[in-house]
Amino acid sequence: MTVDLQLSVNDQLYPLTVDTRETLLDTLRERLDLAGCKKGCDHGQCGSCTVLVDGRRVKACLTFTVTVDDKPITTVEGLAGERGLHPLQNAFIEHDAFQCGYCTPGQLCSAVGMLAEAALGWPSAATPDIAGTAAEPVLGEEEIRERMSGNLCRCGAYPGIVAAIGEVAR
C-alpha cells in the first residue's frame, strides 16, 4: 500500500509516493540519496540511523516514513551551515572521534540532540540528584558517556567522541 506525501528534510521538500512499510531510514538512503543516515542493525539497537525529527534525536530505522510527513527532519547532511561545518563536526575531526566513520553521522546527530536535551535541563541516568531542580546539568565525561550510549561504535572511538562533545558543550 502506498501513500503520497511530502517529506521535509534539511529544509528541502520532497514529494514522494511511499510504501507504508518504508522506514525513514530506507527512504533517506534508497530514495533521497541521503546515505549519511546509516543502517547498522535496522532494529533500534545501534544508533547509526539517528536523525533529528522536530529537533529531537530519534531512530530512522524504527520510524515509518508515512508517520513523519508533517515534521521537519535533519540528517547529517543538514548539520553544516552556510558558515561551514557544525562545531561538532570539526571537533570530531580534531579529536579523531571515529575510525571507520560508519557510526559517525548517527553519533553527530545524536550529540546535537543530546546537547539540546541538556540545555532543557533534562537529566540522565548519570545525574546524581534526580529529584533536584531542573537546572542545566553539567556535562562531565560520565554524563556524556551515559547520554551517548545509544550510539554504538565498534571501532572504540568513545574517548574521542566524549572529548569532542565535551569541548563543544563547554
Binding site: E30, D96, F98, G101, M148, R154, G156, A157
Partner: protein, 696 residues
C-alpha cells in the same frame, strides 16, 4: 632507505578522509544505486543439517514487484570450487542453520523481504551436532593451523618436567564464540556488463576478493572489478569472501539487472564469520622463584563441516616466554555450525587470555610480582625459531606501564580494597602480535602542477590507512602532504595484500615507498622537473620481501587494568585501562592512538560482555542481534590510555613500522580477569566475566 627528510611520518595529522566521514559524503558499499537496481533478500536455512527438498515460491512470486526467486533448483551453475562456503545455491545440502538456501529479488527492498518471508522451504532434517566439548570423540589434529603453522609442537619433555616442577599451575580456560560485528553490515551491489562483473562491496581486500570471485564465475580476475573506497569496519570479517557476495553476483546474473544485497545484522551471525570458541588447558611448571621450566598449552576449537578453519590459538605460546620444555597443540572438531573466520588477533586474542591468566595464577602461587615474573621469563632469542628478535621491548613496556599506572604501590593481596560497596583490583598482562609483510604493488604519478597521485588496491576500514599512506608517500616524494593524493579501495588499482594480520601499513607502505622512490629517480632523470604529460613509476615488493633477513619480528605490549566489582551484584566495570606498546615507528600518533584504544576497547568488551550463545537444540547463535550480543557501549569505556615506547628497528621495512591494528586486543581480557581476581579473590577462567560468575 632514501635520504629524504622525514617530515610527515610521525606527525599527528588529521585523517585525510575526515571531512567526508563527518558530512555523510563518504560512500559505503550499499550506498551505490545504479540504474535499474533491484533488491535481494536472502532466505536462511532453518535446520542445522540436512537437505532442501523443495521450494514453494507460489505466494512469493505473487508479491507485486517480485522479479525472481532463486534456489539451488534454478540457480545459475558456478564453476566447481574447493571453497565450499562460497558454492552458494549449488547443492541441496544444508551445513549449518542460517546458511543461505534461497534469495528473492524484487524492485524494492520491502517487496523482496515480503517475498523472502513467504517462501516455503521443504527440508529433510538430520540430527545435528553443534557442541564443542573437550572430550568430543571427533576431535582431530589438523595438519596446519592458520596461516600455516604445525598444529602441534613439542620441545624437550614437558610431561616429566611438569611432574617434577616445584610449582605447577594447571587450569582450563574457555572463551566463547564471538562475532566481529563491524558497524557497517556486509553489503554488495553487483552489476554485470559486457561479460564483466562490477561489485561494490565492503571488503578488506579488493585484490583478494577479485581472486576469490572470478573463478567461481569462470572468469579471469581482470573481468571482475571490486570497488570499496569506504569500509565501515571489518575486524577480519571482511577479509575474505562470504556467501552474500557470490549470492548477489549470482542473482544479478540471473535477473540481468544490478542487485543490492545488504546482509542483515541477524544474518551476520551465521554467514560472515566469527571467532571460534576455545577450550584451553594451560600447565605451567616453574621454580619457586617463578622461572618457567615447562609450558603446556592445549586448545580445542571448532570449524564447520564445509571448511577447515583452524585457529592458531596456542602458536603465540611458542614465542612468548623462555622455558626448556614446551608443548603446544590444537585439536579441531568439525560441527554443524557456521564457518568460523578471522576476528581481530585470531589466535593471539583467545590464546593470550589463557596464557596470561595462567601467568597471573603462577605469580600468585610463587608470591612473585606479575611484572617481575614476566621479566624473569624473558627469552634471549625467539623460543619458537631460535632466531634473534628484530626487537623485543616487552620489558620496556612493562616498566613504562608500571611507572604510568602506579603499579609500584600495589598491594598483591586479593579482595582487600573496598570503597563503599565496590571492590577494586588491578591486573596486568602482556601483549604481542607478529610483524608480517606481504607482497604488494603500487603506482605513483607526478603532474606538472606539482601534485602527485599514488595508487594501490589497499583498504581503509577505519585503520587510517589512507592517511598514513599519504604521509609515507609525501615523505618518500619530499612533497607537502596536501599535494599527494592516495587512491585505494579498488581492484583496478595495483594489487595489494588484504588489510589483515596487522600488516597493511608495512606491506602497502613498502610498495608505496618503492614506487615513490622509482618516481623520484624518474624525475631526476628528467632534470628534476616533471616532463609535460607527467611522469609515472611503479614498484612491486615480492622480491624484496622474499629476500629479507631472517629475524623473529613481533610487536609487544603491556596492558594494565583496574576494575570495580559491586559486592552486592557482581557487576564488573573497568575503571581504568592503560596500555604501553612497542610497535616500531608510529606513523601517525593520532590515528595510532585510536587503533590501540580501539583494540583495547574490544578486548575489554571481550572480557566483560561478548558471547555468542549456541542454541544446542536449534544449532544457531541464539543472541543474533546487538540488543542481545553486547558490545561495549560508551558508558562501559573509561578514558583509556595508550602509550608507546620509542623503538628503532632497522630490520622491518622502509618505514620501520610494526602493525598496530590487533595488538591492542591481545592480553586485555587477561588483564581484566587478573584485576577481577585481585579485587575479589575469585579467579574467572571462563569469558565473559559477567555478574553470574561473581554474585554470591
Amino acid at each position: 632507505m632514501t635520504t629524504t627528510e622525514i617530515k610527515y611520518v610521525g606527525a599527528p595529522i588529521d585523517r585525510v578522509d575526515g571531512l567526508e566521514k563527518v558530512t555523510g559524503r563518504a560512500r559505503y558499499a550499499s550506498e551505490h544505486n545504479p540504474r535499474d537496481l533491484t533488491y535481494a533478500a536472502p532466505v536462511q536455512a532453518t535446520i542445522a543439517r540436512g537437505e532442501v527438498t523443495g521450494m514453494d515460491a507460489g505466494a512469493a512470486l505473487k508479491v507485486p514487484g517480485v522479479i525472481a526467486v532463486i534456489w539451488h533448483g534454478n540457480a545459475p551453475r558456478l564453476a566447481p570450487s574447493d571453497a565450499a562456503e562460497l558454492s552458494v545455491l549449488q547443492s541441496p545440502r544444508v551445513a549449518y542453520r542460517g546458511q543461505y538456501v534461497a534469495v528473492a529479488v524484487a524492485e524494492t527492498l520491502e517487496a523482496a523481504r515480503e517475498a523472502a518471508g513467504l517462501l516455503r522451504v521443504g527440508y529433510a532434517e538430520e540430527t545435528h551436532d553443534v557442541e564443542l566439548r573437550a572430550d568430543h570423540p571427533r576431535l582431530y589434529r589438523p595438519e596446519y593451523v592458520n596461516p600455516r603453522f604445525p598444529a602441534d609442537e613439542v620441545r624437550g619433555d614437558p610431561d616429566t618436567a611438569l611432574a617434577s616442577a616445584p610449582v605447577v599451575v594447571d587450569a582450563t580456560y574457555t572463551t566463547p564464540a564471538e562475532h566481529n560485528n563491524p558497524m557497517e553490515p556486509h553489503a554488495t551491489v553487483a552489476e554485470w556488463d559486457g561479460g564483466g562483473l562490477t561489485v561494490h562491496d565492503s571488503t578488506q581486500g579488493p585484490t583478494a576478493l577479485r581472486g576469490e570471485l572470478a573463478p567461481l564465475f569462470g572468469m579471469p580476475p581482470e573481468q571482475v572489478r571490486i570497488i570499496s573506497p569506504y569500509v565501515g569496519g571489518g575486524f577480519g570479517s571482511k577479509g575474505r569472501a562470504h556467501p552474500h557476495v557470490v549470492l548477489a553476483a549470482l542473482a544479478a546474473k540471473q535477473v540481468g539487472r544490478p542487485v543490492k544485497l545488504t546482509v542483515t545484522r541477524r544474518e551476520m551471525f551465521a554467514v560472515t564469520g566469527y571467532r571460534t570458541p576455545t577450550i584451553q588447558r594451560v600447565r605451567l611448571g616453574a621454580e619457586e622463584d617463578g622461572r618457567l621450566i615447562a609450558i603446556s598449552h592445549e586448545a580445542c576449537e571448532q570449524s564447520s563441516t564445509l571448511t577447515e578453519f583452524a585457529e592458531q590459538t596456542t602458536v603465540v605460546t611458542r614465542m612468548m616466554y623462555a622455558a626448556p620444555h614446551r608443548r603446544t597443540t590444537h585439536r579441531l572438531v568439525r560441527l554443524d555450525v557456521p564457518t568460523p573466520s578471522w576476528m581481530r588477533a585470531p589466535g593471539e586474542a583467545p590464546g593470550m587470555f589463557a596464557l596470561e591468566s595462567a601467568m597471573d595464577e603462577l605469580a600468585v602461587a610463587c608470591g612473585v610480582d606479575p611484572i617481575e615474573l614476566r621479566v624473569r621469563n624473558e627469552p634471549a632469542t625467539d623460543p619458537a625459531t631460535g632466531l634473534p628478535f628484530s626487537s623485543r621491548n616487552l620489558v620496556a613496556c612493562l616498566r613504562e606501564g608500571v611507572r604510568r599506572f602506579g603499579w609500584e604501590s600495589r598491594d598483591p593481596r586479593p579482595a582487600v580494597r573496598r570503597r563503599g560497596r565496590l571492590m577494586y583490583g588491578t591486573g596486568v598482562a602482556s601483549s604481542t602480535y607478529p610483524a608480517y609483510r606481504s607482497p604488494s604493488e603500487a603506482w605513483a604519478r607526478a603532474e606538472t602542477g606539482g601534485t602527485f597521485t599514488v595508487r594501490i588496491a589497499a583498504a581503509d576500514l577505519g585503520t587510517g590507512a589512507r592517511t598514513v599512506l599519504t604521509q609515507i608517500a609525501a615523505d618518500a616524494l619530499g612533497a607537502p602532504v596536501e599535494r599527494v593524493r592516495v587512491e585505494i579501495g579498488d581492484s583496478a588499482l595495483p594489487r595489494a595484500s588484504v588489510a589483515g594480520g596487522s600488516m597493511g601499513t608495512a606491506s602497502w607502505g613498502t610498495a608505496v615507498v618503492r614506487a615513490c622512490e622509482a618516481l623520484t629517480r624518474e624525475l631526476e632523470r628528467s632534470g628534476g622537473v616533471v616532463p609535460p604529460g607527467g611522469a609515472e613509476a611503479s614498484a612491486a615488493t615480492a622480491q624484496e620481501i622474499r629476500g629479507q633477513e631472517r629475524y623473529a619480528r613481533h610487536a609487544f605490549g603491556a596492558q594494565f587494568a583496574e576494575v570495580a566489582v559491586d559486592a552486592d551484584t557482581g557487576e564488573t566495570r573497568v575503571t581504568r585501562l592503560l596500555g604501553v606498546f612497542a610497535a616500531g615507528r608510529i606513523v601517525n600518533p593520532k590515528t595510532a592512538r585510536s587503533q590501540f584504544v580501539g583494540g583495547m576497547t574490544m578486548g575489554m568488551s571481550m572480557a566483560l560482555l561478548e558471547e555468542s550463545v549456541m542454541d544446542a537444540r536449534f544449532g544457531d547463535y541464539l543472541n543474533h542481534d546487538l540488543a542481545q550480543y553486547h558490545i561495549a557501549a560508551n558508558a562501559d569505556v573509561p578514558d583509556i590510555e595508550a602509550y608507546w615506547v620509542e623503538e628503532d628497528d632497522p630490520h622491518l621495512n622502509p618505514m620501520g613500522t610494526k602493525g598496530i591494528g590487533e595488538i591492542g586486543i591481545v592480553g586485555t581480557a587477561a588483564a581484566v580477569a587478573n584485576a577481577v581476581h585481585h579485587a575479589t579473590g575469585i579467579r574467572v577462567r571462563d569469558l565473559p566475566i559477567r555478574l553470574d560468575r561473581l554474585v554470591r
